[in-house]
Amino acid sequence: MGELLKTVLHDEHVSLGAAMVYFGGWHMPLQYRTGIVEEHLATRKGAGLFDVSHMGRFIVRGSGALAFLQHVLSNNAAALDAGFAQYTMIPNDHGGALDDAYLYRFTPDEYLLVVNAANREADCRHLFDMLAIFPEAQMEDVSESMAMISLQGPSSRAILQELIGSGGLPEPIKNAIRSASIRGKKVLISRTGYTGEPLGFEFFFAAADAPWLWDLFLEKGAIPVGLGARDTLRLEAGLPLFGHELGKDPAGQEIPIFACPLARFAVSLSPLKGNFVGRGALSVQFAALKKLQDEDYSSSEDLPRRIVPFALCGKGIARAGFRVFKGSEEIGFVTSGTMVPYWKTAGTGLSTRFTGEREMRAIGMMLVDSRIRRDDPVEIEIRGNRVDAVAVPYHLRSDAPPYAMPILQRPAEDREKSLSGAWQEKTFDLLEKAIQNTLWRQTECINLIPSEQTVSPMVRRLTMMDPAFRYAEHRSLRSYYDAEIFYYQGTDFIDRVEVLLKEEMTRYLSCREVEVRVMSGQMANAVVFSGLVDYLNRGDRKTEPRRIRSVLNNHIIRGGHLSAQPMGALYNFVRFDPQTEKPAVVNFPVLQENLYKIDVEATCRIIDESRPELIIFGKSMVLHREPVREIRDFLREQKIEAVILYDMAHVLGLVGPYFQEPFAEGADLVTGSTHKTFFGTQRGIVAGNWREEEKQYALWESVENRTFPGSVSNHHLGTLLGLLMAAYEMNCFRDAYQQAIIRNAKAFARALRDAGLQVAGDPAISFTETHQVIVKVEYARAVEAARRLEESNIICNYQAAPDEEGFTAAGALRLGVQEMTRFGMGPEDFRRLAQYIHDVVAGGRSVREEVTAFRKRFLTMRYCFAEDMFTDLMKKLHRLI
């Protein structure tokens, strides 16, 4: 080995009192004064700061850059959009790893490849050798001119937010990257790391700035972390370390890349990659892996052993190299193992919290027979003794930001036992609790969940009538001039109800067609997606139907609802993009200055590039009108054919001049749920506006067909009957109701702001154009705020704002005025309510008694027909229940 290498931060480490060690030719801090355990725990609860400048950094550029990266790396570099990073391997011809690496694409034409310190020279030689085949690609080793540090842990976001200048934080998505400035200096920032922390950032910048940025983060409260805790953190997170879980095993045998669980994310066998290094061997491994998942061991010789996390049950610590047994058979060995600390937790679900107590646990990873599955007991030989251990799926989970939560081996939790008493006792209990619950929500609570609505007494009674127990499947038959044919007798009444409901809904929406049999907004969307696939394939019924080629929708972190996401109702209906190897969905860009509003200009560019077949407007966190008209005009001008669907779930009750008129503005289809701003019952609708002679009427027919028999047979006729009355109410009172909603929402938003709370949106329009108001509380504190509001009988939901990482990190509350408006609350009343909310959220005061008394003023439902006009009929209805 040549002379000892020092990073640009070497003197910083020494002056902090670090114990320095030799690592991969570098003189690096093993630990600072407080030691590995403290450093590990500080990262999990606060923020840890790591010098990772010893890692190798290469810039790859030139017209051949992509072809080169596709050839030498295992992942699909063509799938990497500018603004993102990806984990990848540098494979060899045998399907083993020369190294694992991260590829960052900060700008469209330049890639940054980061490799392990110990492999830097070998990687460099290999990559430069390969470069010879790609004369149009250039590679530059910038390891010395560019420094790299990492800030990880729940406090990292706040520390960074305080310092960040232009550019801002990367999007709240794993692997998102952004170029920004910190105190005027240019820094590249990525949401990546080697700790398993859901919040963590890596920074790339001019080497000369390293001591300055390092000290700045320390000043803001980050704790320096050495290689010791870096190793325990990555081990707890289940991340591989080259030389242990990747590369060669101690006997010199190649560890197949697919032995490592992370290989699934790091290897792409996309045709776009051509014949890259190791492709053949990796394809064989992948085929074996897929069989193993089905417990088919016929190809297990292609992947005989896999890396599996284990927890030690008995005493001791299992170290790398220790032998692993299953019964008398030796099945593998430990690749990494030690004792790691963790913060103990108390509480369950969203109330889970760190107690402040700490504990240690012996964990590790092992390379063992592929037949070993999770929860399998094994034994590990520790200094001659066999000690019990168990294969576990993971030691840590990162899906509840801002914290990484330790996952321990523990017995199944005790569920609340149901009453074991007599039926009489159980019945009494259930009746009593249902009464209590209804009285509480209907007479003591202020209900502000924007997706809910109480139905009028008349609707409620109708919903309980005889149709609730009946079936009424029907479809139209061409032989009878498209007459609706029912399969059962006794259906004349419900047939009539459905016809009348369609009439009311077409009148309400100003459109030609409405399908009312879907039972929810989510089903309405699924029916449209399924109908569109049916329509797209109408010319060819003999081959595998193709899916929707490309979809434009609202991203879930920008308020999009899961029913319009690939993970939701789009799941079966959108194509996988072979380039990105993900569902072919692009998202509406939003305005930088207002993340709640679609950027129309940028949207037009995206439509031009991605040519979506389906454009889905609509959100569940919605403050603004959707730019339906602007996008329709653009499509018309550019002669682009795309179906515009407006999912009006939240705003179905606002259709009209005070909000928006979807069909007049150019929507092709509208879906919605009937129980948010609309007057209930809980169902969905699909609406269309094509004439029978139009080509796309066939799409409408597909929608009907995918409703019945595609999605429903019986469709809950009680709520259908109730919905007809609700539609009468809506068509009768819509003007007054819709104006009241908008007036109340704006007054509520202003009052919340005046009370001292931070209200999201544009103050120039009083923050909202819908029934919703978004209040920002503190980052990751909204769950608690919503719980405290519930204790004060104010029911709302916590909501992740567009710049937050997920619902557990939610810092906002979502409030809707629709239900309480129906119970007669006006602007003055919402101002009073704003004060109550402020008292709870900012003042930490319970207002339960005041709120209970306040609610008593709003018990009579408005915007429905006065019962005294129908006294006798209402009494009869009531008796029939």
Binding site: Q31, G35, V37, K315, T338
Partner: protein
């Protein structure tokens, strides 16, 4: 890590070159790890102690101490029978870091030859060896 001058070395104890200390107590001798050793090891997370009643020769392994990073064996500073072990240390190995000469003691030995203690290093001699870079 501590500088040499920060290392605690009580004058009344005897030391082995392998970083164990010995304190004669009547017929018995108490044995533990020195402040220097615990500091070098860092966070001690596991201690394996011998069974009471067994005889261990001088220089033989009598215990294993593990930190997050490493496994270290402890060598018997004087031959004898294990009369007692520090039970709480197994549940709370960090005692060894916090109080190497107190609650972090490891075993009590009944020495074969009580006079053998005097052949071990004095604090001064042990310190000299540390400074010599052992």
């Amino acid at each position: 890590m501590k500088k040499i001058e920060e290392i605690q070395l009580p004058e009344e104890l005897r030391y082995s070159p392998d970083h164990e200390w010995v304190r004669p107590e009547g017929d018995l001798a108490r044995v533990g790890l020195t402040d220097y050793a615990q500091d070098q090891l860092g966070d001690i997370v596991y201690v394996e102690l011998p069974a009471v009643g067994i005889h261990i020769a001088q220089g033989a392994v009598f215990a294993t101490v593990e930190s997050v990073k490493s496994v270290s064996e402890c060598f018997m500073p004087l031959a004898g029978e294990i009369a007692a072990v520090n039970g709480p240390l197994s549940d709370d190995p960090v005692l060894l870091n916090q109080s190497p000469y107190g609650d972090g003691w490891m075993v009590m030995v009944k020495p074969d030859d009580p006079a053998a203690v005097s052949q071990l290093l004095t604090a001064e001699a042990y310190l000299a060896r540390l400074k010599g870079g052992v």
